[in-house]
């Protein structure tokens, strides 16, 4: 196992810049997930680490070795492809032992290693089959087994679960997590699915347009998104944003929405000034519907999406679509007017000008005060 360090990595195709000044230090044994919308450069970044793409600037270190000029074969890493890339003309056994075969490891030894790994993945019965005769989940396992067999310095996963159906995806997710815990290996994992990112990662790297947006443990990213992009991208259903301005109302700092509703600020924030335009973010689970009274905001129900275990209610507020996530069944009807209560401790403030988060300052005493409207 080894760490992976990216220093000022950049890459451009012709004139388009696909990766800009990427700096990440991935620790030995760490599970790092690269996440971002399609076309953000996450796959290119992974392929650059593998050596399948040439980089235009910066350095890549695997362990202590600078690998910029090394061919993929000399980097000692394994990669699991989205398509699995199993060799159709080889049996499962040869597929799994292929890297050792290329290194001219004695046959008996290959057989031993492969059968051990196959055993651990429940593939022992399938060793003689060709990839064509396997199910999606089995192919996925063979691809992982092939990566494990050679004891690489690091594993690279390129959207490995996106070709599986939903149920199998959950199962394989758990298996990958268990595998990581067992092997204690360095893993770089690319996905566009933020649930995978949240559940698997020790640390998440959020990428957009070739630029790192935020690096951090999953819950930190969820609880304290660094900017509007991360806030909107991580979390499903995604965060609501309301356009507001900072005002002083009866001696207290408040956010006033365009239509005049006020949200009291119960925490202190860095660089907050009266008059600032703030995009105020609130996660759907931090909005609730009041049975009586006015709440902070008044909306009108647009649509209801019951999922059984929960309910998502979309309502219109000053032309924006606000989502409410509720574990209770609200009994709302479409077009019904409803009063919304926001958990004001969970507001995320972003400068409209820069898109950056206003950091919350540590509170002396959390002051709790419900303001139920005017």
């Amino acid at each position: 196992m080894a760490s992976i360090t990216l220093n000022n990595l950049s890459k451009h195709f012709d004139k388009t810049q696909v990766l800009k000044n990427i700096n990440i230090e991935m620790l030995e044994g760490e599970f790092v997930v690269l996440v971002g919308p399609s076309g953000c450069g996450k796959s290119t970044l992974l392929r650059s680490i593998a050596g399948l793409e040439q980089i235009s600037g910066g350095d890549i270190f695997i362990g202590e070795t600078k690998v910029n000029e090394l061919a993929p074969k000399d980097r000692d890493i394994s990669m699991v492809f989205q398509s699995y890339a199993l060799y159709p003309h080889m049996s499962v056994e040869r597929n799994m032992g292929f890297s050792l075969e290329v290194q001219k490891v004695p046959k008996a030894q290959i057989k031993k290693i492969v059968s051990e790994v196959a055993e651990s993945l429940g593939l022992s019965q399938l060793l003689d089959r060709k990839p064509k005769a396997l199910s999606g989940g089995q192919r996925q396992r063979v691809a992982m087994g092939r990566a494990i067999v050679r004891h690489p310095k690091a594993f690279l996963f390129d959207e490995p679960l996106s070709n599986l159906d939903a149920q199998l995806r959950v199962q394989m997710r758990l298996e990958i997590k268990a595998l990581h815990q067992r092997l204690k290996s360095t893993i770089v994992y690319v996905t566009h699915d933020q649930v995978e990112a949240m559940t698997l990662a020790d640390r998440i790297v959020v990428l957009n347009a070739g630029v790192i947006q935020q690096v951090g443990p999953p819950l930190e990213i969820y609880d304290r998104p660094a900017n509007l992009f991360v806030a909107g991208f991580m979390g499903s259903p995604s965060m609501n944003f309301i356009n507001t301005q900072v005002i002083m109302d009866r001696g207290q700092l408040c956010l006033q929405t365009t239509s005049g509703d006020k949200l009291p600020l119960v925490h202190q924030y860095q660089n907050l000034q009266v008059g600032m335009h703030i995009s105020c973010g609130i996660r759907p689970e931090h909005v609730s519907i009041l049975d009586s009274g006015f709440g902070h905001l008044q909306g009108r129900v647009n649509a209801l999406e019951p999922t059984g275990i929960s309910e998502q209610i979309y309502c219109d507020y000053q032309g924006e679509n606000l989502c409410i996530y509720s574990m209770q069944r609200s009994g709302c009807k479409e077009n019904q007017a409803i009063a919304l209560q926001l958990d004001v401790h969970k507001l995320h403030l972003f400068s409209e000008q820069t898109g950056l988060r206003l950091q919350q300052l540590p509170d002396a005493i959390a002051e709790y005060k419900v303001v139920s409207g005017e």
Binding site: A50, K73, F81, Q82, S83, A85, P88, R146, R150
Partner: protein
């Protein structure tokens, strides 16, 4: 079908009938070739135009095999066609791989060049090639034919091989490279085994094309010991114009390898024809 109406029956009948007409049109000339070949010479003038002779004979085939030079022509053609097919497939596989997997300067120009060579009037190069080949001792030589046939089949075979390579996911090669292969080892261990059927098809196409080539062979070959089948057959026809049975028996002989390869490349006809839309 539960309720087949009368018009459905008529449509069905018309469809099968039309297909039958096409079948007859396609196969009748070949049938006729075979029929004359097995008709005894004596019966030709009395029964030449009957659909089936009253007596059959293998004499014509025996004569062709034992008394004529056709076995030599056949072997010459087989040597030239096989060598051309092998050489062309090797060269085209390398070039097709380059086209499929690399970006390089001049790619567009080179592929346009290959396409243009396909549209060239062949007759344009006949005379210059003769003049160039003669002092090199490559006229009246099977080697000369192999070189020329290879050159003229390469462009089409490159397009064909390129389409076969494109059918192989890039991931496989990249995976092999990550797993410790150089590009060349990946090519050898992963890509080539997967392209083998495509290469076989290319072999078949080129063999068929070389087997049927006639203009260069007529131009460059005059010595009957190095004649290919078309040259030999055409000379025979002009010399012994009335030995119908033998000529047709020889014709049947020429048809055999072509038919074998045809069965062999059936599956790839579409790819082959679109790659060499101009090739025929």
């Amino acid at each position: 079908m539960p309720d087949v109406t009368k018009t459905d029956y008529i449509k069905l009948f018309a469809h099968r009938f039309a297909i039958l007409l096409y079948l007859i049109f396609s196969l009748f000339p070949l049938y006729w070739l075979l029929k004359i070949a097995v008709t005894p010479d004596k019966l030709l003038y009395s029964e030449g135009v009957k659909m089936w002779p009253s007596k059959l004979t293998w004499v014509n085939f025996e004569l062709v095999f034992t008394q004529s030079e056709f076995p030599t022509f056949f072997i010459n053609s087989a040597i030239v066609s096989s060598a051309t097919a092998l050489l062309t497939t090797l060269i085209a596989a390398a070039a097709g791989y380059a086209f499929c997997r690399f970006k390089f300067r001049g790619k567009l120009i080179i592929s346009a060049l290959l396409l243009i060579t396909q549209m060239f009037p062949l007759v344009m190069v006949l005379a210059p090639i003769y003049k160039i080949m003669a002092p090199l001792g490559l006229t009246n030589s099977l080697l000369g034919l192999v070189i020329i046939y290879t050159a003229f089949n390469v462009p089409f075979a490159v397009f064909l091989m390129q389409s076969f390579f494109e059918g192989i996911p890039r991931d496989l090669e990249e995976s092999a490279m990550v797993e410790g292969c150089s590009r060349f080892t990946a090519l050898r261990k992963v890509i080539i085994p997967l392209t083998l059927p495509g290469m076989a098809a290319t072999l078949g196409f080129v063999f068929t094309a070389a087997w049927s080539e006639m203009l260069f062979a007529l131009m460059l070959i005059s010595d009957s010991s190095v004649s290919t089948f078309p040259v030999g057959l055409l000379n025979f026809v002009s010399k012994f114009a009335v030995q119908w049975g033998q000529m047709m028996a020889a014709g049947v002989l020429a048809l055999i390898p072509a038919c074998i390869f045809f069965v062999f490349i059936q599956r790839y006809l579409v790819q082959g024809l679109t790659a060499g839309a101009v090739k025929g």
